[in-house]
């Protein structure tokens, strides 16, 4: 067993720590509560490892510069909360269509608009998938603890590089600001994925998928492959194309590189699901409330289990469908007015009755509320 | 308008946050921070009603007002 360093750490701190271990060398952003520590700690640490931090003039510039950093070859991150996440939407679509690896952290707070800026929420879950215009596929992960924030951030960088795609880390004010014990593995014990780059002298077409590759190889600007990147539909050469056939091929590849690799991307966790007759689906910090409540419910003899998506998008369709087939009723507990519940409803169809437990008033869900709701509907 | 002798410096201790602006910038040095951390008048006769304290109080807690208004 390899050595781990034990520390008390804030979620936001753990996120930067992990990013650095994953190889982050570039951070561009704009401060916003409750994500600001991500910028602050990055500004302190990045230059120490030869990396770069820049505070841009706004969130749009933050993601744009981060994409630029990635194009220049550095693993890049940007971080924000609700209002800034809305502003980043246009360029999230850019990163998706231009296939630029990038990690975007959204430490969720109460919305809409300025809303409840210092309170936790899980109100940007659907936005993470649908926030930008046009069709695209996206990966979004949500941690429930400081330790998981660490693990997921590493994973986010790996997925971003592996699939040449923006990956969203959806955390929230609770996880971002609380301090918990974390065990940091030795660098050698962490799996790190780097993007595939073309070999020297290779006949390089920037958007040609080569045998054995999941995505086209990506050359950093300045490495001798002079090629073009655009947010227009483009063909293998990278140049714009209006061809409808090409657009079809390209969009399908962009979507299927993620949809077809669900098994690699989808992470989830189950608690007391083996014999469960009822399930609660919950993610992020709220899942901890639910876990607590389930212990109580079990003590009271109710066969309830927790299904916890860690990968929010693409959703754990197969597994959630299984849950639906297994139990009679499902509660989806989340800190919002009903978002992921709609995805669950869609997946389980009539197999199970689906209920929602949630609010978006700035207060976390209490275990007692979960217990009460379970008693009410199960 | 009230004449000068009808006016005096007033302090609202509930709003005063004890920043010390009034004390430090009073040209005649007639204010002080008391042991509750609030501004207080220590030499009413010395006050020339210049208004500096009022202008520089960030908390609207000190001002020149009519003696009779309470």
């Amino acid at each position: 067993m390899s050595k781990k360093t034990v520390k008390l750490m804030q979620g936001n701190e753990a996120c930067v720590e992990a990013a650095l271990m994953a190889g982050m060398k570039f951070f561009a952003g704009y401060p916003i509560t409750p994500s600001t520590e991500l910028a602050e700690i990055s500004s302190e640490k990045l230059p120490r490892v030869g990396g770069k931090f820049i505070q841009m003039e706004d969130e749009i510039a933050g993601i744009a510069a981060a994409i630029g950093g990635s194009i220049a070859g550095l693993k890049s991150m940007t971080a924000t909360s609700g209002p800034g996440f809305s502003l980043k939407q246009e360029n999230i679509g850019y990163a998706a269509i231009a296939e630029i690896p990038l990690v975007i952290v959204n430490v969720m707070r109460g919305g809409p608009s300025t809303g409840l800026p210092t309170s936790p929420a899980q109100g940007d879950v659907m936005q993470a998938k649908w926030g930008t215009h046009g069709d695209h596929a996206i990966i979004a992960l949500s941690p429930q603890s400081v330790m998981e924030t660490f693990d997921i951030t590493i994973k986010a960088f790996n997925l971003a590089e592996k699939y040449r795609t923006p990956v969203i880390v959806l955390t929230d004010e609770v996880v971002g600001h609380m301090r918990e014990k974390i065990e940091i593995p030795e660098p050698g014990d962490i799996e790190i994925v780097n993007r595939t780059v073309p070999g020297p002298g290779e006949d390089y077409l920037p958007y040609r998928l080569e045998a054995g590759d999941i995505v086209p190889k990506m050359a950093p600007f300045g490495a001798g492959y002079r090629y073009h990147i655009t947010g227009l539909f483009h063909d293998e050469t990278g140049f714009p194309s209006n061809s409808t056939e090409n657009a079809d091929i390209m969009l399908k590849r962009m979507i299927s590189k993620i949809e077809d690799n669900r098994d690699d991307i989808v992470m989830f966790d189950e608690f007391m699901m083996e014999d469960a007759e009822y399930a609660i689906i919950s993610y992020g910090s709220t899942a901890r409330t639910v876990r607590n409540a389930i212990k109580t419910l079990r003590e009271q003899g109710m066969k309830v289990g927790l299904f916890r998506p860690i990968t929010i998008w693409p959703s754990a369709e197969k597994e959630i469908r299984e849950v639906g087939r297994k139990v009679k009723k499902i509660i989806v507990a989340e800190m919002n007015m009903g978002q992921y519940v709609q995805e669950v409803e869609r997946i389980v169809k009539s197999d199970a009755e689906v209920f929602h437990l949630g609010r978006a008033n700035g207060e976390v869900l209490m275990p007692s509320e979960v217990v009460q709701k379970a008693k009410e509907v199960f | 308008m009230k004449s000068k002798d009808q006016l005096e410096v007033k302090i609202n201790p509930d709003w005063c946050k004890g920043c010390g602006n009034c004390v430090s910038f009073c040209p005649t040095n007639v204010l002080a921070i008391d042991h509750h951390g609030k501004s207080t008048m220590v030499n009413r006769e010395g006050c020339i009603l210049c208004g500096m304290c009022e202008k520089l109080c960030p908390d609207f807690a000190i001002w020149i007002g009519g003696k009779e208004d309470e």
Partner: protein
């Protein structure tokens, strides 16, 4: 749950109650316990009352927020009014000596302790009241070992202030012994 101790530390914005909470949590971790620390975050935290919360437990902590604290320590009147309520049945309220509790304030057990005065008079700096408070709680509750608390304090306080903070910690321990 029964295994958990939930602590709330309250004071005014600048008094370092969050630091106190972090130190307690860190000490618990050093003792191989489980701990979570969180705080209230809001514009009002700037000037007014602020709080930090710590949960210390022997087993995994699911729900990360304090619901009904076993112990509240408060250094100011305002913080006490705001965060002194909602104690667990039988929970303990520790307040600084000058604080007045209004009639009907719900709290079964209250003790008054001269934390601010101790910091000012015995250590010489009001600013270390938070560390006095840490010492007091550590000794009073015996939740964390003195060794770990010391280590946590020294790891978190600004360079150069270690002797002063060590002194403050000792004063806190002494204070707790005196009221026990």
């Amino acid at each position: 749950m029964s295994n958990q101790t939930q602590i709330r530390l309250a004071g005014s914005g600048g008094q370092g109650m969050i630091m106190a909470g972090v130190i307690l949590a860190e000490a618990a971790i050093l003792d191989d316990k489980i701990a979570i620390q969180s705080q209230s975050y809001g514009p009002e935290a700037r000037g007014g009352a602020s709080k930090a919360e710590v949960i210390i437990s022997n087993e995994e902590i699911d729900f990360p927020k304090v619901i009904e604290p076993d112990l509240v320590l408060s250094l100011t009147q305002e913080a006490t009014m705001k965060y002194g309520n909602s104690l667990k049945e039988g929970g303990l309220l520790i307040i600084d000596e000058d604080i007045l509790l209004p009639e009907g304030f719900e709290s079964s057990r209250v003790i008054k302790v001269p934390i601010l005065r101790t910091a000012k008079e015995n250590v010489g700096r009001a600013i270390v009241a938070n560390i006095v408070a840490v010492g007091f709680i550590a000794e009073f509750t015996q939740l964390v070992s003195r060794e770990s608390v010391e280590k946590a304090v020294l790891g978190r306080v600004p360079k150069g202030t270690e002797p002063m903070n060590k002194k403050a910690l000792s004063e806190g321990y002494a204070l707790a012994q005196s009221v026990k």
